[in-house]
Symmetry: C2
Subunit: 369 residues, 2 copies
Amino acid sequence: MQTELSKKLGVEHAIFGFTPFPAVAAAISRAGGFGVLGAVRYTAPDDLKRDLDWIEAHVDGRPYGLDVVMPAKKVEGVTEADVEAMIPEGHRQFVKDTLAKYGVPELAEGEAAGWRITGWMEQVARTQLDVAFDYPIKLLANALGSPPADVVERAHDQGVLVAALAGSARHARKHQQAGIDIIVAQGYEAGGHTGDIASMVLTPEVVEAVAPLPVLAAGGIGSGPQVAAALTLGAQGVWLGSIWLTTTEADLHSPALTEKLLAAGSGDTVRSRALTGKPARQLRTEWTDAWDDPNGPGTLPMPLQGLLVAEAVSRIQKYEVEPLLGTPVGQIVGRMNSERSVQAVFDDLTRGFEQSVDRINRIAGRSGQ
Amino acid sequence: MQTELSKKLGVEHAIFGFTPFPAVAAAISRAGGFGVLGAVRYTAPDDLKRDLDWIEAHVDGRPYGLDVVMPAKKVEGVTEADVEAMIPEGHRQFVKDTLAKYGVPELAEGEAAGWRITGWMEQVARTQLDVAFDYPIKLLANALGSPPADVVERAHDQGVLVAALAGSARHARKHQQAGIDIIVAQGYEAGGHTGDIASMVLTPEVVEAVAPLPVLAAGGIGSGPQVAAALTLGAQGVWLGSIWLTTTEADLHSPALTEKLLAAGSGDTVRSRALTGKPARQLRTEWTDAWDDPNGPGTLPMPLQGLLVAEAVSRIQKYEVEPLLGTPVGQIVGRMNSERSVQAVFDDLTRGFEQSVDRINRIAGRSGQ
């Protein structure tokens, strides 16, 4: 499964796997794909260094990349405390009441709330980049708009390709103007932040909008036929995130969450502002229902919502409070029905791809194939 | 472009075209596809008879079908007047106020409001079927659940295949149990009534759920690569509706609406309950915005909403009140940028399909193809 882009990056298959887990990223690259480590949770540079060392030791020399969350716009002269002060008391009370209703325990004294997206992540992302550029990464992806011009330049100076996510042709063209090398077209069905346009429509639209720039299709892809369909639509590769969450190499730190993912159908996700204030697809839970309830207080805009719920989400995850327990995941969750190794997922993708090519050749009357 | 189903129906290409316009339906069949005439607007049997006669005279002996709107559940012992009485006065006032705000003129004295979906359409659909079964139709499709058992039986007795639309694997399995022959998997991106699951995920899920029943993919398809992608996902054909709305053979009776469709991008539709009370994708207009506004009265459930807005929609269409003027259409509207003949659209689909097969063969390293 070879495209111009996969050849350029030196991978066997044009399958890109985004994951927060170093073991998954390394396994994807070892299997012949391109593993991309999500760096957003690494607030301490040493933790990132440790995990990149681990990948280096386990990737068998195969190429891999890094995904950061770097806001396109800087927020100047405003502190996190200023923004905390903008959160209405009624919303804070709603969080307290909802957690109390479900008996969610408090974090331990001094225990920090987990990951949150804020407008202040550029500094954190820059420390991540200072670490990452010491490693032979081949791709730098950004999940929030185009990265700043100096970051794109630094990447290019080091021979690193830069990718950025887009949910519309307009966004994709903005990335192109910012010197981005690869557009990840993120369809409606994808997990995490996503727009309203489904992959079947978005992929070819973005391909045409930014040609000859290569496009990766993201959203709704977790089987060989879906890989083949995305490449048929003009993508030079596929970008898969959700499908790895239930691999044996993944470590969600929550058996209950893994169970929920394995049991969920394609209709069990929702595109909700509950997590960050921007629409992000995730498991539908009583937590997202509470935020999406027209009789509730509703969500706040980014970055307020993320600040508001950060501690609550950490508590729900730590104590595995089942009705509230969720995670960003795409509609492909309906296909994640057993824990498999990354290699097994990969074999399924490549075998299914070949069978789909057989199928379309039969339909096209090219029987010799 | 041949599948088992296209062979069974005797068509050259596995492309099914749904349209309310006889001239479009006939042109699709003449071009080598399978034209399906939407019958919902034919409240007078003679009108349907006239248009089927016209198709017979213009289809060059090619096969074609009919699409009806036949509710799965009958509403017994309730009259339309009973239901009219259930509409809150505040909602009626909201319709009046909104029309007044935009200066929408009244219909002429005695002029009837146009089409509306109600729970009472079974009788109308049955009179349509009484007419249609006198013609050599090869397919009967139903847009609202499985048709009643006796209708399925009557179709089968006459050698007519029965198709039904489904937005989830669960719905598709219900159709299968009802003896339906073909499932139309209607993705989120489709025009008209549609569920929440996008085609990339829905198509293979439905294919697997009802195998070996043939599945047609609907939603987001309007170009050759999209046809190829849908067939790659396991569909035995594609079902296209929106793309024909701006063909030269279509007759929307509204140049302003045609202009709006040609100008609209893929992000200019919305899945709204404004038209019927169930989520249906349509052009986003100030009319849908008014109904979807959290500060407005909100929509009523089907069939109340359809009854409530029927006259208003007719007035908006008749007088082409631009900010309110809309129509059901899918996200593929972003690709409908010029008026073309049905044959030109068809040539684009089949040529693009062949190019996409070439492309996927190159990616798969089957260079001899």
